[in-house]
Symmetry: D2
Subunit: 409 residues, 4 copies
């Protein structure tokens, strides 16, 4: 098992047991409820199914809570590598991460507050987030510019006396439709004349602040991802106290960089959990449905595809686990190539296996009758979220070419 | 232009002009109306946007109507090859086929009635379909069996005196949610002991017949494709007069076979129209958005992908046009390999180009702000509809191996 | 058959009959002779197997000779489209093109002389080439520069009184090892200050001229392609009379451009013939060898691959035939995107099918026991010869983007 | 470095230093000597370049010798995981493995003798092999049957009194052309009626035994891989003493199984070394050659391909290292899926990167001027040697489906 620590193995066993006992049995029912009641754009009507709230309580009671956080007092103190297999396990069900209080973007936001927040910020926002009472969002991508280049960002965060004033528009702000979403961490341009990576700031903006207008929820292929949602939101001269700035003005990129590594691991491991689940669904269906006198899995190249997915998933998992290990042992910077690499590789591994799993499910695979479409949306969105594949490929290339420049010296 | 007839070129020019003048200018507005008003599962509330009805009238008035039908009196009498480029043009907009009364599955159903219907059937159903007053659906795929093997079909069509009794369940019945949908052509099993391809029948079933229950609409990745929809419908001892049988009992496969060839051409050419449109959107976006100081098209392998899509689309179009030519000149049977081949190839060509076009649009590409998600749903569904890719690949293989068996004799 | 002319069909039948009767029966024997006697780098010892010379006489006697040349007096006067299927047929055997006096680069060189040569040049060089008495080569690619960009060329062709002086080095000069090779058409830089496409010249250089040094033959993966060979040759102040210049000094690119279109068709159609032959070998072997109780073709995804190759070959052939048609009807310039496109597509189609054919032949497929390695060398070299894939992809992209610039005006 | 042991790291440093100091500087010269002197089928003339013999002595003197052998007395006692990175390092040059006495198939043969040989067999054969004085070969694949299914094997090994009699034909017997090759381990059928995996035996056959006829060397794409070679050899009633049987009659498969795991790791790690080297060559060339005003690496999708190769290599290495770890800690059987998986994945990773490296080298890449063609031959042959890709994919599938059958119990 790639040197998993005993502690990690133990937690993994407990999370697996919880999934088996509590999540899988009610998953279909909950997903059907979401599809039927909340499968529309009117996000103000969305609710968290009561079964999810109940499961949150149960997970919290069992100590399977906030496991992503590398702090021994506030959580279990697991390292990135130790948490990674748990994230995979949670990724096997789209409803699971919230149940364990480990869902994006709250995990990343909590990490930012944990590492860079003031005591006041922690008390006001981190504490209720860790208790799972509120949700948070992260405002990064903007509709008017190619946000793959973060320096294109046009939202302004301007100091004005004891306040900062936020003006601009963000979209694909995940979780914005959640009824418990209370606060946004917004990233924006403060000083266009500063050094390229010292121009931007991060600031905490309560979603009920004046001037914050949630315009709409965006769908992924027509699915609104209730009760989380991906929102478009405008900031019209929103004023918050300067104490809401995280770190200091101009520190946005530095903070974003730190947030980066573990978040990538989480995303990728969850995606691999979804990939494993999809492969299971593909195989189970392929063995049980019969055409032309044979189980589907024996027809055409279906069997070969299963083998190829197994090899792709195993490699992608090792790549991600290895990256987590480097982050833990040598830091984010040492893993620059790999952090980009896994982000360029894993979502496509998932997209490919779900696509094949859909195919073997026939028409049903396209519908919400199975969880494949949800996984497909995860995969397809993840190829853009947090930087498109192409940006990560370019980063891998850049890191590769650095080796040759160093040789010159 | 691959030997396009003068008549075909002329119609192509007129359809292009109509698209430019009447369809493209209102397309975004109509799609937004559909998304906002009808983007949900409550199909009984769906309406056809009034602008579409107006455009139907205009197309009919201009004689750009029923062009798919190879009859000189009822329509323009275009051959499959002559109509093919028009289908491509219509495929450039998801709203266009209905406007020209050329949308699936009505086209296929009208062809069935045209070739195999009785005079009474033609008068009752073909005539209003040709006038665009009503819509029809085709009940083929079933939820409980691998429908890629059509002989798995479990719906029963049993003669009982002057009536036939239909019992079973169909899904992915396209167009079932349309407010004008009035009749289904249902295929089912009549005589399980007959020769393998003489067991099934096709029968006309009015959708208001007793025992016909439209259970729900199915979504493709969460999109319900309003106002058409893909429905699940049960037939509970539905009784229709024997005169509703098309051809005769047991003739279902023979009729389906005849329906096959031109329908494939239509599907594939429309898909290629969508592919061309997607490539245009990809290029336009790629030239206008800037990241890292360059238009996106100059970054990474984006430009190379454009070239590859151009080559893939051009080849797929020639493949489809060639197939149409063989159908016209030598019949469906002579084109067996190619009819399967284009169905295995073209939807993936479309899926690939849309996927890349989405990618270059960033987050926006995933939303309904552009028409890319609609094209993506077309592509992904088409890889299953009318037989999955794998069945068509198997057919190409079978036809290939026949050459070697013939050599033995 | 895609509107093949009657004349073309008739010649096709005759070439097929010739191949069946005269070429296939002796092919293995001739290839074994070449492998055993000439499978080494000592090109001065290479001979043309006598059986080939005999077959040349027979083909000439039957009028299956110089069919590539679009002249009714000197040859059959076939258009590019009419000759294309004959080229495919000849491509099915690596020894066939020479037998029909239709092998590269002689065909291209003869076309150059035919279109641009003086009467004296025609008499001296074209006439014996058309009779198949001598062979010619084309000196283009150079070892010291990236020859994918032809303007990088460093060989100098300088006028000096009544003579021109050639100095430089060429490699991958195909056919240079052939015992009958007598003359090279050499392309080089004459005026570095002229307009970018008017700097280069083409000149006829007898291979026995003083200063012409054939340095060595280059192998493709270790195969020297005897008795043709790909040579490296240096020109050390080689002096030829000015009358050896083709067209005029500075006209090199213009002439190369004209040589381009039909040559691409020939290359690609021959490659498709090799692809068809490879697919046949793959299927025949796959049906006859048994493992784990099944013919190999039934195992894994072997069958699916056959289907995919069939679809790829058919599409690539239509693409090439269509391009030939545009060249014939509208000229090379009108087919710019397609001429680049087929060159980027077809060699890879061949490489893929040969690679799979090799795989199904097991170890034997890697050896010269079958003709697969020869086809593989053809494919792999063709992905570089006459411009690498990447240059052609870039050309397709450039042509595609032109459409958008035109819209601006 | 994935938990590499200190001992392994230390040896890795030493092997790297040896490669840098002694191998790379003479590599081109040695390869040119081999190409020029021994690039032909007349294997009886082949010699080991004297520089290689000198380097063998040096490596032996430095204790960089037999590192593959997990025995502390005879060698360094490295585990599979510890040796793996050294194998990668050696794989960077096709001449290196022999220099360190770590080349296939001698390594596998030595392991067989080490684990299963009698004292007499060890003294006679293992000892001189470990000293690097002689070479050995392994006779497995046969020309007349699909050897991907080893039970197809037709060579007979029959007991006859104190002797066993070997009759049959093997090919692709690697190393058979080496001047020092003295002995073959031959696998063949002893008892066709025994249990499927107890029918075969392994026996030591001196190459000078009567009835052993080396028929010829086979080329890979025309390259004979001198001074090793891949031979075809017939056994015509060859008699050897019964004491030459390894283990006992009928134990062939059991022994082969044990030989399997570490050998796969060696093959794959060497292939990854070749892949790294090829990627370096690709990048170095891509940065130094200029076309259209840019280094090649900046053109088209060349840069993206470098990134993709980096990600593919890194994943494949982790997959292989992980497999080595499982072998070391839990045995070959526990790693069944992975041992098959790496063999199905790694050779293609290498083939892809070499193919692209060749492409960026232009024509030169196809010749023996660079070592790319040698690496290409390694990759292509490895996709067949030791079981074709397809057999390994089928094995991965089989292992995957086992999980579902176990669930039933």
């Amino acid at each position: 098992m790639f040197g998993l620590s005993e502690r990690s193995q133990q937690y993994l066993g407990r999370v697996k047991a919880f999934m088996k006992e509590h999540v899988y049995p009610v998953e279909a029912e909950i997903l059907a409820e979401i599809t039927q009641k909340y499968g529309h754009a009117n996000w103000r009507e969305w609710q968290v199914p009561s079964k999810i709230e109940a499961l949150k309580e149960k997970a919290k009671a069992e100590g399977l809570w906030n496991l992503f956080l590398p702090d021994s007092d506030l959580a279990a103190g697991l390292s990135t590598s130790e948490y990674a297999p748990l994230a995979e396990e949670m990724g096997r069900s789209v409803i699971a991460p919230e149940i364990f209080n480990c869902n994006a973007p709250d995990t990343g936001n909590m990490e930012v507050l944990y590492h860079f927040g003031t005591e006041a910020q922690k008390e006001t926002w981190l504490a209720p987030l860790l208790r799972g009472e509120i949700r948070s969002v992260f405002g990064m991508t903007e509709p008017q510019v190619a946000s793959s280049d973060a320096t294109n960002m046009e939202t302004r965060i301007i100091a004005d006396g004891d306040e900062v004033v936020i003006t601009g528009r963000k979209w694909w702000t995940t979780g914005l439709g959640h009824p418990n979403a209370k606060v946004a961490i917004v990233m924006g341009l403060t000083d266009p004349d500063a050094d390229r990576h010292q121009r931007h700031s991060m600031v905490l903006v309560p979603l009920d602040a004046e001037g914050v207008n949630i315009e709409r929820m965006l769908s992924v292929f027509g699915d609104y991802d209730a009760p989380y949602g991906h929102g478009e939101v405008s900031f019209d001269n929103v004023r918050v106290p300067k104490s809401n700035v995280i770190g200091k003005l101009g520190a946005g990129f530095a903070i974003a960089q730190g947030r980066l590594g573990p978040g990538r691991i989480h995303h990728c491991m969850r995606a691999l959990g979804a990939a494993e689940r999809s492969l299971e669904l593909m195989i189970t269906r392929g063995m049980s449905r019969v055409a032309f006198g044979q189980p589907l899995l024996k027809l055409g190249d279906n069997g070969t595809r299963v083998a190829k997915h197994r090899m792709a998933i195993d490699q992608a998992r090792l790549y991600t686990m290895y990256t987590a290990g480097v982050i833990d042992s040598a830091g984010v910077r040492a893993a620059a190539s790999e952090i980009a690499g896994i982000k360029a590789v894993v979502p496509t591994v998932l997209q490919n296996v779900v696509d094949d799993a859909i195919q073997i499910h026939g028409g049903g695979g396209l519908s919400h009758d199975y969880m494949l479409t949800a996984f497909y949306a995860v995969a397809r969105a993840l190829r853009l979220a947090d930087g498109p594949d192409e940006v990560h490929q370019a980063m891998v290339l850049r890191e590769e070419l650095k080796k040759y420049r160093q040789d010159k010296s």
